[in-house]
């Protein structure tokens, strides 16, 4: 599991890669909250996430709620089929803003 952040069009793009589970979700949570502390919109690139469980969902939900409290936008991009399945099970596909690509998410932020 790796987390990487870069600035793009005034937003922070975080790319998550690997499997987000009880072992790795604390790192994801910390990384997302630290990225939000930059005070910019956050786009999470999910394309390389091969697995996510309820603890990974919890990390995303916490980042989403923190962003809202800070008045920042929070979006997911390029969610693969296995993560999308989990979002649908949790009915979070209607809560999270999900874009087909990072670029589409950035255009919407701009």
């Amino acid at each position: 599991m790796t987390c990487e952040a870069q600035e793009k069009n005034g937003a922070t793009v975080v790319s998550l890669s690997g499997e987000i589970d009880l072992q790795t979700s604390p790192d994801v949570r910390r990384f997302l909250l630290k990225s939000l502390s930059q005070g910019k919109s956050l786009v999470v690139d999910m394309s390389a996430v091969g697995y996510i469980d309820s603890s990974g969902i919890a990390s995303l939900v916490e980042a989403y709620q923190t962003a809202r409290k800070m008045g920042l936008r929070f979006a997911l991009a390029q969610v693969g089929p296995s993560a999308m399945r989990v979002f649908q099970l949790a009915r979070l596909d209607r809560v999270f803003t999900i874009f087909p690509s990072v670029d589409a998410a950035l255009q919407d932020h701009a």
Binding site: D21, L22, Q23, Y51, D53, E62, S82, V86, L89
Partner: protein
């Protein structure tokens, strides 16, 4: 050796691991490979793997309360048209009535594990654990 070994009732594997988060990848790999032996599709396998992972997480976080010195045993077998998973731990006996999902409309981090297990599996129940064990969660999923 029979030609279609997995058409009926037979044990797939039993896996004993320390009940720790870093062992969950290994558990998922074993569950996924075993499910594939039954000729199911990859989304069926993904659903089963998630349910078993969530049940293991609950053993780690709730049954053992984060203590890192207990084991868990995941046993999988094919029973005719179902896959059966038994998850055994050596923690104090759990009150099954306290194991329940939260209300999904209440958006907060956490509380999804038991919900995932219930919607992804066809049957879920605590059963009598083997001699010396603490709890045994039995889950079955119909093979499609």
């Amino acid at each position: 050796m029979t030609t279609d070994p997995l058409s009926s009732t037979e044990p797939l594997f039993a896996l004993r691991v320390p009940a720790r988060p870093d062992r969950l990848r290994l558990v998922r790999a074993a569950v996924g490979e075993a499910a594939m032996l039954c000729g199911v599709g990859s989304s069926w396998v993904g659903d089963l793997v998630l349910a078993v992972d969530e049940a293991c997480q609950n053993v780690i976080r709730h049954a053992y309360c984060g203590r890192a010195d207990g084991d868990m045993v995941i046993e999988m077998r094919r029973e005719a048209d179902r896959l059966e998973v038994r998850l055994v731990d050596f923690a104090p006996r759990v009150d099954p009535s306290l194991v329940k999902p939260r209300n999904l409309t209440d958006l907060r981090p956490g509380g999804l594990g038991t919900y995932f297990i219930r919607i992804l599996m066809d049957d879920v129940e605590f059963c009598e654990p083997p001699e010396g064990a603490g709890n045994c969660l039995r889950m079955t999923k119909r093979i499609e």
